[in-house]
Subunit: 248 residues, 2 copies
């Protein structure tokens, strides 16, 4: 069998971007509900609680990646992702900023940080992502991070929509998103260049595209779970957060 | 069966320190050879080449640890270990300092950094350590890092012995050890406190002591391999560094 040639750099990047256009979770109705101001306070809280679990696993995912990287230069370039999320010993970092959002929507940040009330479907999706990055080829692991390419748009929409529609929303509550607007493009530039540089065969390009598709699945599944539990039919699974719990 | 009570804090710490006194690699004859100035230039080079492999895996080991830590505070406290070894994007870090030592002893730092010429026995021992930290209970993983308790003495002896006996030895060449003299005590204080705090049953104390014993084995096995290959009988295994290779 003749081996296919790889796409050229521009076409391959377009292929990756098309995955976001078709499948990123800004197309999910929960996103529209939220930034359009139609989500109830409890639906916002359910989102904050479940999304915490995703946030909390990102530094572990990035550490799992670094634990497999033998090139010190690549580890050095990747390390800022952990710093961005975990922050310093006493302050800063996306996790602390997410807990400020939790507080703003009326939740006890300690409750949210405990991970209590997270839906099992959220855990399954997020844990699958961490395992993917731990187990799959490094190129695929990097490619799976490229949903960040599509994140600035969703963060900007969230800031605008939440500020417009919700009393809780102010710059402190939304500082997570504001900060990510600055951080994500740097990570994307590095990750995208790495993938474009290293996916030098059609097979590697397919694997990278599959990895990015997988990651959009991870994000989409989280919003599907939220919709199922807290919108329609609104059947909260056993053990998941019940409105009224974990309030501050 | 009645469960044994755990040792009190002081006795347990004494038990851990006794492991170092009995088994740390400062008791290995290769250490005496080196800091006593009896090692040949090629024996020093073999040590620098093989020890590089250990150094190069430390940040991966620490990332593997962090990838399993769900407590952000513990990750934040641990992260400096990676920073200490990898350094910044452009400068600093134990790995770069080790390559300065490599250069000082006449080796091409690029050759050393490539990992070429590392003895298989070195790889097996070091890889076993990384796997241990990735797979074992977190308490055991922390305990395995506590060989750092015994490191300041060996670093100080190395600095003194190398400066005294070898022309190549100056502060630049030995900056790795000088820096570790400052870094290690901070890591030890944190790690030891963590182990003393969390090993609250006799079983956990046994496991922590076993983990520290395991780690002394990892270090000892590396010096045994060096001795076998480059001292006595001096039978260099297939593929390992041959004197004359990788010089600058």
């Amino acid at each position: 069998m003749l081996s296919r040639p790889p796409l050229d750099r521009e076409s391959f990047e377009a292929r990756l971007r098309a995955i976001g256009a078709a499948r990123y979770h800004d197309r999910h109705p929960f996103h529209a509900l939220l930034h359009g101001g139609q989500a109830s306070a409890d639906q916002v809280r359910a989102w904050v609680i479940n999304r915490w679990y995703y946030q909390s696993r990102i530094p572990m995912k990035d550490a799992a990646f670094m634990s497999r990287v033998t090139d010190p230069a690549l580890r050095r370039a990747w390390r800022s992702r952990i710093e961005d999320h975990d922050g310093g010993l006493d302050e800063g970092g996306g996790l602390r900023r997410w807990l400020r959002l939790a507080e703003a929507v009326g939740l006890d940040p300690g409750y949210v940080a405990s991970g209590a009330g997270v839906m099992p479907a959220t855990r399954f999706a997020v844990d699958a992502y961490v395992r993917f990055v731990r187990d799959m080829p490094l190129l695929d692991a990097v490619a799976s991070s490229l949903t960040e390419m599509f994140a600035p748009k969703i963060h900007a929409e969230r800031i605008e929509g939440l500020l417009q529609h919700y009393d809780f929303a102010d710059e402190t509550a939304l500082s997570y998103f504001r900060t990510r607007l600055a951080e994500a493009p740097r990570d994307v530039a590095f990750g995208l260049r790495h993938v474009l540089d290293h996916a030098d065969t059609a097979e590697k390009q397919d694997a990278a595209a599959d990895a990015l598709t997988f990651k959009t699945d991870v994000l989409w599944a989280q919003l599907d779970a939220l919709w199922s539990g807290y919108v329609e039919p609104g059947r909260i699974p056993p053990g998941a957060w019940q409105p009224g719990e974990g309030l501050r």
